[in-house]
Symmetry: C2
Subunit: 465 residues, 2 copies
């Protein structure tokens, strides 16, 4: 086989579902029904479209609070999910067959036993299509719904997360893949040599196990992360298989992606064990003018006062008193949002943006890459990022739903396929298979070895405490 005949490396694509769109003013667009997310058929239509288009996964973010300090400030922002991501994905699982189902759950506010069980259940229900986007929840609004005055420190949250994911994996590995024998004659449902207690005793968690679901279809549901801080990258290098990131420039993204793969390699993992997907919001049309008009149309609905309010509550950066036509003052670099604050501040410095211009950029995609142009122009950019090591694929943020997703499916994917960069058919049935990620072994020998530990041994941190 000659080199040119070899199939090209394929892009991984996520469809990031998010309220009625990722543009901050999406719900005010005349073509958008802002109450659509209250209806299941809205989500079902999007998931089915994404599956028909062969996206690797639908991706659902999450917070466990509404932001804003009073009814007045809360009133300006529609909730992203009027229900709850795992509930929604459980329902979508039974109406789809191949697309991955990635939900966000915080290690700070849900116990590892629940997290392990919920994702194992979704993995079973979907035939191996679950992914867990692990976050640590960086806001005081969320902390206040769980008994805290303020969020835990960034350090503390990542220490908890590190131990949390270790426990979750140990629970997933508490049964061998072939533990169920259901032997009516002996009365044994499980082979006792194929299950083990977890008996985790750590600094933050003590969990006995085993997990009542048995082993997930994928061994482990795919571990996804999006933290860009140093702690976030460290955790991702050790445990994440899919990393979602906000990057404004190809070179910065390349440095981030390759740096993360370096770190993973240093920990004994292969570079392809960690796939990095920058977020990208796409305004595309047959002509560049039409594409620009789509973005401009949405900008018209941005209310500057509301946007500044929103940036204050979501990003903890108060620009409400700032001169709109001057460069922004430095952000506070608060615990929860330091990476994102830095990203925006750097962007403003680099491109010499005024507060007004910065707010426009923020409204378009919360810091993610914005591409505006014809299908060829957009795909040129995506290809350049992909080929230069700045991305293993992209998480697609449609500005409004369903139109923005339709545009990508109808205009961008055909061009990607023409260039051999994106699949025509799913390669497998599980998310792991479609992403090309190996299935973790269960750590039991073929004839049963209840005392063997899967992967690295569980650390007993209590002895240091």
């Amino acid at each position: 086989m000659t080199d040119t005949a070899r199939p090209r490396r394929q892009m991984r694509l996520g469809a990031f579902l998010f309220g009625v769109g990722h543009h901050a003013a999406a719900w005010r667009h005349p073509d958008v029904d802002p109450q659509a997310p209250f209806r299941f058929d809205y989500w079902l239509d999007l998931a089915r479209k994404a599956e028909a288009a062969k996206f690797d996964a639908v991706f659902l973010a999450d917070n466990v609070a509404l932001f804003g300090s009073s009814p007045e400030t809360i009133a300006y922002t529609p909730p992203v999910y009027t229900g709850e991501p795992l509930t929604l994905l459980a329902a979508l699982a039974t109406h789809t067959s191949h697309i991955g189902l990635i939900a966000t759950v915080s290690t700070t506010y849900l116990a590892p036993y629940h997290v392990a069980r919920k994702f194992a259940a979704l993995d079973q229900l979907s035939g191996g299509r679950a992914g867990w986007n692990l976050v640590t929840s960086g806001s005081d609004a969320e902390a206040a719904n769980f008994g805290l005055d303020r969020q835990l420190s960034h350090d503390n949250r990542y220490q908890i997360a590190t131990e949390h994911v270790e426990v979750v994996k140990a629970l997933w590995d508490s049964f061998a893949d072939d533990a169920v024998i259901a032997d009516k004659a002996s009365g044994r449902f499980y082979d006792p040599a194929k299950l083990r207690l977890v008996n985790h005793e750590g600094e933050h968690f003590r969990v006995r196990g085993p997990l009542q679901t048995g082993r997930p279809v994928q061994g482990h549901p795919v571990i996804v992360q999006a933290g860009s801080s140093q702690d976030g990258q460290k955790l991702a290098a050790a445990t994440a298989e899919l990393v979602f990131t906000a990057q404004q420039s190809r070179l910065a993204s390349r440095a981030f992606v390759q740096g993360l793969k370096d770190k993973a390699e240093a920990l004994g993992r292969a570079r392809d064990d960690v796939l990095v997907l920058p977020g990208v919001t796409i305004y595309v049309a047959p002509t560049r003018e039409e594409a620009e008009a789509k973005l401009a149309r949405l900008h018209d609905f941005v209310d500057m006062g509301g946007a500044l309010q929103s940036i204050r509550t979501f990003l903890e950066w108060d620009l409400t008193g700032a001169d709109l036509d001057a460069p922004p003052p430095p952000p506070p670099f608060t615990e929860g949002w330091q990476s994102r604050q830095k990203l925006f501040y750097d962007l403003a410095l680099e491109e010499g943006l005024t507060v007004r211009q910065l707010v426009s950029r923020m409204s378009a995609a919360r810091g993610h890459l914005v591409l505006v142009g014809t299908p060829a122009e957009v795909v040129d950019q995506l290809e350049e990022w992909f080929e230069s090591g700045a991305a293993d694929g992209f998480n697609i943020l449609a500005p409004i739903f369903p139109q923005g997703l339709d545009d990508v499916i109808e205009l961008v994917l055909p061009e990607l396929r023409r260039r051999g960069l994106f699949r025509h058919e799913y390669e497998g049935r599980t998310l792991r298979e479609n992403l090309g990620l190996a299935r973790p072994a269960d750590g039991f020998s073929a004839d049963g070895a209840a005392d063997s530990a899967p992967g690295p041994a569980l650390t007993d941190r209590r002895s240091h405490a």
Copy 2:
């Protein structure tokens, strides 16, 4: 209209889904596929059958652990839900249209914000068919999965539960029913006068709110409880709308049901605001002999050693060293299972059962009423309980699935309908409507009154702490 023409009061019927059946040996029955619960179509088939038969709800119990102290002891018992009840009900919600969806969640191990949100999400997804069976989790095995050496005391668990459900309701009431205005012109998604912070500060929980789902379709998903202890009854009298109970005799059940309604009435509720459903397992066939043969067939698969093991681990009552042909020694009356231990011990004393006979009774339905006979005989019993105030209906525990449920649908329901005791069609679309339960008001006045509290004011217990 004459008195005789007035429609009879209708029985409420729940279909209690539980692994492959409620008989302890169900999975060993030759007609049963013990691995069926790993497949969604198994649950879907049962839910659709129950809906076609017009059951009020499917009911899912839950524990957050497998029981048994070692792989050897765990190996003998199949998990009840190989997934997780809320995940399963979310999926079932989108394939059904009228049947209620009741899941069990513990107030001891899941924070009120999560509980409020999960059930609000299920309520939205199902168009108002969610019910929350509130339990406090009475086992050390569950405690060990959540960082505790032993379960909390019975008292403590019920104190937590009392505050927990108060917070959950306050979160459900944090938005008015008509809070969403989605006003594109003003940029306000919510009417700020129609939402309020919860700002709960109690002994066990501090929760700011509001709940990001908005108000549930039913106002509040239906509150279900099953605790029979004094604390359990006290909480149920104050907050439960549906009570599930294990009762062996009609007179005892009547005393329980009327006592609970007395307590509810003393708290200002109407007697019909609390519907009590004893559990009943039914062996029915055209002849009594055939019905008895069905029960005997299952008894054949009970392994006495395994059953005693199981009673020790599930019920914390060690009969493994006892003389099988003598009366049982008294149970230990442990924290978690005192009501159920007492029920069985009383039953053995009353009916003069040996350990062997008691184990048979336990295996049949874990302490619930067992009816064996022809359709007319079974319905005579159900009618007598219902008419004498010993039940508002029943939660049906099929010995094996799907056959045991089919038997009830094909043989018992037609006879109930013939006597005018059970519906031909659903009365409404929501669980609350079908149960005849009022929809709780949101506590906001029509023109918006963010400062009014719904129901009783939230107690600040911190001042007493």
